[in-house]
């Protein structure tokens, strides 16, 4: 297989908590494998505290990984040390931040950030070309070039978020890391930004990592979905496959929580739990406290992502069910009937 645009292998980031002598570490991201191909929108889905923003910051080199490696076009990121290399990477991979209200310097006009990116990353442009290019990226995100002369406070949230994308686009990136770009926006404006993201992929050939907690919007734009829970990957695969038949109980929970106006009486999960803070974790599945299907094995062994069809699932119960479904004859009475959780029907429900 050809080398993907970006590939993270065993990506891990821990934070030490408390003072210098503290021995506690927070496991923000643990052993995450992630690939992003060219012209692909990958949605990274999870609740707050699941580590998804840390992933974006690792990929943007705001943090360095504790262990593991990120390869961009086959080049390991840790080898990019010179200023030239770093500038190159920042020109290839841009980040758009969550909060459009605090992401801009309030005393500069909007043009400032866009023009500065152009000056840094594309020094070959003359000032006049720079201005033209700034106008072009403005139009690419659906704004009029006049916006460049405005101040941030003169713009609405949706406009600012688009400027965030325009700033990112100015450097002609191959990959945009968008950290909850629509969660601060009104519902009516969200669709505009989502459509713009799809347009960037289709017209400019840009890949996106779309970080969100909203499965519905992930489904709307993304080609592939990666679901994270407590710093680990729990399920990954093509959007429609994952959402049509979620295998991991956490994905099922997220899906049932996504309110849908067209289904008034959809069943509602009674779950009220929250993702745990992963401080000094021991072995075992991190979802087991909230999981309706948890078995003994879940406490003893951390599940690793295992392929089931086109998806990867990190769940003992789902993997066992899939294996039994694949060869029903080979099933010894290993799972007694007393364990209803291992019934494949109850999982795929």
């Amino acid at each position: 297989m050809a080398e993907p645009l970006l590939r993270a292998v065993d990506l891990t980031r821990h934070f030490r908590l408390g003072g210098l002598l503290s021995k506690h570490t927070l496991h923000a991201v643990d052993d995450l494998d992630l690939t992003i191909n060219e012209r692909e929108i990958v949605a990274l889905v999870g609740e707050s505290g699941s580590g998804k923003s840390t992933v974006a910051r690792l990929l943007a080199r705001i943090y360095n990984p504790t262990s593991g490696e990120i390869y961009y076009r086959g080049r390991p990121l840790h080898s990019l040390r010179s200023r030239k290399d770093q500038l190159w990477y920042r020109g290839e991979v841009a980040i758009v931040l969550q909060d459009p209200f605090s992401a801009f310097h309030p005393v500069f006009r909007i043009a400032h950030g866009v023009m500065r990116n152009l000056a840094l990353h594309r020094p070959d442009l003359s000032p006049a070309e720079r201005r033209r290019e700034a106008e072009r990226v403005c139009e690419a995100v659906g704004l009029t070039p006049r916006m460049l002369d405005r101040y941030p406070y003169e713009m609405s949230g949706g406009e600012r978020q688009r400027i965030g994308f325009a700033q990112a686009l100015a450097v002609q990136p191959k990959l945009i890391l968008a950290d909850e770009p629509v969660s601060m926006l009104d519902v009516s404006i969200r669709v505009g930004v989502l459509n713009m993201m799809a347009g960037l992929r289709d017209r400019e050939g840009v890949s996106l990592l779309y970080i969100t907690h909203d499965l519905a919007s992930a489904r709307y734009v993304a080609d592939r979905i990666v679901v994270m829970y407590a710093g680990q990957l729990v399920e990954e695969g093509p959007t429609e496959t994952v959402l049509a038949n979620p295998k991991h109980p956490y994905t099922q929970l997220l899906l049932s929580a996504a309110a849908d106006p067209s289904e008034k009486d959809a069943e509602i999960a009674a779950d009220s739990g929250e993702p745990p803070k992963v401080i000094d974790p021991s072995e075992g599945c991190r979802f087991r406290w909230r999981c309706p299907y948890a078995i003994e094995k879940c406490e003893l062994l951390t599940p690793r992502p295992t392929p089931i069809g086109p998806t990867q699932v990190a769940c003992h119960v789902a993997v066992a069910a899939a294996e039994r479904a694949a060869n029903p004859d080979a099933d010894p009475a290993a799972n007694p009937a007393s364990n209803p959780a291992s019934n494949p029907a109850s999982i795929s429900k």
């Binding site: 609405s156 009516s188 459509n195 519905a216 997220l254 049932s256 106006p261």
Partner: protein, 325 residues
């Protein structure tokens, strides 16, 4: 029908700004029966929070109610003085704010804040305070041990629940909620909404619930009020709105969020952004963004017309529509 619990009559709220008077709420009417769940939906800047503040009489200058009435249990709240209002707040009606982190006092434990609220209204013994605090914490599904916790020690979902617990200390007849779930994740949002609905059913208070997310109100509210640019654009029963939205703006809102199920289709959203209320557009305030705009919309300001048991502010439902489509 018995007298409604709350009656808002032609309410007008203005903010004095350098650019002149801005009418954030412009002639809003609605009634709320006891135990009813009313959803108010609109984009940011449509005046929904101002409306809530006017109902709760929490407006501070430059905002001011310049016309209309807010009749709560037969009393016009606009005319009450601050002492009378103080005795009603929390006891007769309470308010749950959008961001519990900012609404709770960071320097005091949850329990201490409950105590303040209870003592503000009546002489109560320590035992009673304790008992009541534990009761409401259990109602909203938080371990009463958290009465000793400070707001920063709770997660976002728990803080919102604690706010709701506080709002229920006196079992008020009306609880006003300003986007209580919008800062939360989907799962937490879902469980909080289910909790609110359960409590509302069992305790029988009325709810005014403000949100910008149509999908949140769809499951829980009895009636929906859609606001646009300070006015009511559409008011009807929730199921009617979802089955057949009348106002083009309501249709736009409904068409603005993707679905996790069903066919994947392209959504259009609503182009443009809400108008500057200091200079509202001529005629219908929605006409610059309206997909069904007619020439008459630029000149004639629509009123609320009764259609199919609901009300809608759109000229499509008048004689002007004929021949113009």
């Amino acid at each position: 029908m018995a007298d409604p619990l709350l009656e808002v009559d032609d309410l007008v709220v203005e903010y004095a700004t350098d650019a002149g008077e801005v009418r954030a709420v412009n002639g809003v009417n609605f009634t709320l029966g006891a135990g009813e769940f009313l959803g108010i939906v609109g984009e940011s800047g449509c005046g929904k929070t101002t409306l809530l503040f006017a109902v709760a009489q929490l407006l501070s200058p430059p905002g001011e109610v310049v016309g209309g009435k807010v009749v709560f249990r037969g009393q016009d709240m606009v005319r009450l003085d601050s002492g009378e209002l103080q005795s009603m707040r929390w006891r007769d009606y309470s308010l749950v704010m959008q961001s519990a982190m900012n609404a709770l006092n960071p320097m005091k434990s949850i329990g201490a804040q409950f105590t303040d609220t209870l003592q503000a209204h009546e002489k109560v013994s320590k035992d009673d305070i304790r008992k009541r605090s534990i009761e409401v914490m259990e109602l909203v599904g938080i371990d009463p041990a958290h009465l000793q916790s400070y707001p920063h020690q709770l997660s976002g979902g728990m803080r919102q629940r604690a706010m709701i617990a506080m709002a229920l200390l006196f079992t008020p007849q009306l609880v006003i909620m300003d986007e209580p779930t919008s800062a939360l994740d989907v799962v937490a949002q879902q469980s909080l909404m289910t909790k609110i609905k359960d409590l509302q059913r069992s305790l029988g208070f009325a709810v005014i619930f403000v949100t910008h997310d149509m999908s949140v109100v769809s499951r829980y509210s009895d009636r929906v009020l859609v606001m646009y640019a300070g006015q009511v654009a559409e008011a009807a029963r929730t199921d009617a709105v979802f089955e057949r939205p009348l106002h083009p703006y309501t249709r736009g809102l409904m068409n603005a969020f993707p679905s996790v199920r069903g066919p994947r289709r392209e959504l259009a959203g609503i182009p443009g952004s809400p108008p500057d209320l200091a200079r509202p557009p001529s005629g219908c305030r929605f006409h610059p963004r309206c997909p069904a705009v007619m020439p008459v919309c630029l000149e004639r300001e629509p009123e609320l017309y009764p259609v199919d048991g609901g009300e809608v502010r759109c000229l499509l439902y008048t004689e002007h529509a004929e021949g113009a489509v």
